[in-house]
């Protein structure tokens, strides 16, 4: 893709003002800022006793809806795994930590389902790209940040474990789109309509 001329933003270093060039007021300002911090409220949490979960978000608490912690595999309304084994998350994963083995689904409303679904939580960088890539909102990141294991093998979370995480966290962070049922026609038609609309708009321009 060629770079157009109007895409180039020329960033020039702004000239320093008179007061900035004589340094001393700037140093004084910096010292004043440090002094203010010296006497301001301390932000440090005494971790095991105080936790971010207990604080309001405005004071540095944990935002459950978008914190990127341990993964979970969502279940649909019939308690089946919501994943359709499309490999989108595995493809999107920059750390290459997701391993899926797909098989033909035993249910009539979808073609495939994951026979195994493994995430290596040690390799994962918690970027959340799997969550973005998932077309059915099956994989999501939870606010759990203190998952531990004594061995490396323990930190490879398989399908059962990930589904268990869903059970643990579904009250804390409800599934984003629990309404997605029946993965076939309706949704595909919706998507098609959406793209058609966009195309019409752009063709007008």
């Amino acid at each position: 893709m060629a770079i157009k001329k109007y895409d180039i933003i020329n960033v020039e270093q702004p000239d320093l003002s008179f007061w900035e060039k004589i340094y001393l007021p700037a140093i004084g300002k910096g010292l004043w800022l440090t002094l203010c911090h010296w006497f301001s409220r301390k932000r440090t949490l005494q971790y095991p006793e105080q936790r971010r979960e207990d604080l309001p978000v405005a004071r540095g608490g944990l935002r459950n809806s978008n914190y990127r912690g341990l993964h979970r595999l969502n279940k649909d309304e019939q308690d089946r795994v919501a994943c359709v084994a499309c490999f989108m998350c595995q493809t999107a994963c920059p750390a290459d930590c997701i391993t899926i083995v797909a098989g033909p689904a035993p249910w009539p409303d979808r073609e495939k389902y994951p026979v195994t679904f493994e995430i290596d939580e040690l390799r994962c960088i918690y970027c959340g790209m799997c969550e973005q890539a998932c077309p059915v909102d099956a994989i999501e990141l939870t606010p759990i940040y203190n998952h531990i294991g004594l061995t490396r093998a323990e930190m490879i979370y398989d399908k059962d474990k990930l589904l268990e995480v869903y059970d643990q966290t579904k009250d804390l962070k409800p599934r984003r789109s629990p309404d997605i049922v029946g993965y076939t026609c309706d949704r595909r038609r919706e998507a098609l309509d959406y793209w058609n609309k966009i195309e019409q708009k752009t063709s007008k321009i």
């Binding site: 060629a2 020329n10 270093q13 007061w19 140093i27 800022l33 002094l35």
Partner: protein
């Protein structure tokens, strides 16, 4: 320090040692010049006499503010505290000259560092802040209590100064090495010389300690300070990186 860095046979320690040696040598000069200004005005090298003169007159910080500023950045550089801690900057050369030392050897190095800091602060207090003088109180009492109070006053001043060291440490980022060198040789030395010259002119025309002399010293100091600030303010600073225009073919 230099020998310690060199003898540990490590490139980072060696660099740290080299830097500390170069920095100390450079900053001795402006520091000596600023001390000379004070010595010239007091007419003595005895610290006690300098303090007594400040007690009977004004603290030197009030009459010699710019000399104090020069002295201040010199002692920061001498003790290698943060804006000038090139000798041990962790991000560039690991730990500098003490990289290879541990336990008590490291402890001794740091004891030396901090002792250096305390000594530098004490000298600054004696030369510029009236030593053990509490403002507005002049007493020649030589009882034990008076002596203790003087010691206490001095120690409190020392604490304040050390706190100032820490304060600056957490505020200012580190200079580049060539910036430090140019600050010493191109700013510190000429300014120190200019102030020394002006102060000696003042001392030549007025008896040291007279009100006129004090006023003229202040005028000389503030004049030099203003001149420096104005020159800095209207000069065009060299940019770290020249702006390179990107030339693109038109589509």
């Amino acid at each position: 320090m230099f020998l310690g860095g060199w003898s540990s046979n490590n490139k980072y320690s060696f660099l740290g040692g080299l830097r500390s040696a170069a920095q100390m040598l450079s900053y001795e000069v402006p520091m000596a010049l600023s001390i000379l200004s004070i010595v010239l005005l007091s007419g003595t090298l005895r610290l006690e006499e300098i303090v007594n003169q400040q007690i009977s007159g004004y603290w030197n910080i009030l009459t010699q503010p710019f000399v104090f500023i020069i002295f201040l950045f010199c002692i920061f550089a001498e003790t290698k505290r943060l804006p000038f801690d090139l000798a041990e900057c962790e991000q560039e050369i690991v730990g500098g000259y003490h990289t290879e030392y541990s336990s008590m050897k490291f402890g001794l190095y740091f004891l030396g560092e901090y002792a250096h800091m305390i000594v530098a602060c004490s000298v600054a207090i004696v030369l510029f802040f009236g030593g053990w003088h509490l403002p507005f109180i002049t007493s020649d009492a030589s009882t034990l209590g008076a002596a203790l109070i003087r010691v206490g006053v001095f120690i409190v001043k020392l604490w304040v100064f050390i706190a100032f060291y820490m304060w600056v440490r957490w505020t200012l980022p580190r200079f580049r090495f060539d910036q430090i060198m140019s600050l010493a040789w191109r700013a510190g030395v000429p300014l120190g010389l200019a102030l020394l010259l002006l102060n000696s002119i003042v001392v030549y025309f007025y008896p040291a300690g007279s009100a006129a002399a004090l006023w003229w010293q202040l005028v000389a100091n503030i004049g030099v300070l203003l001149a420096v600030l104005i020159i800095l303010g209207i000069s065009k600073p060299k940019l770290a990186r020249e702006n390179i225009p990107i030339v693109m073919d038109a589509e």
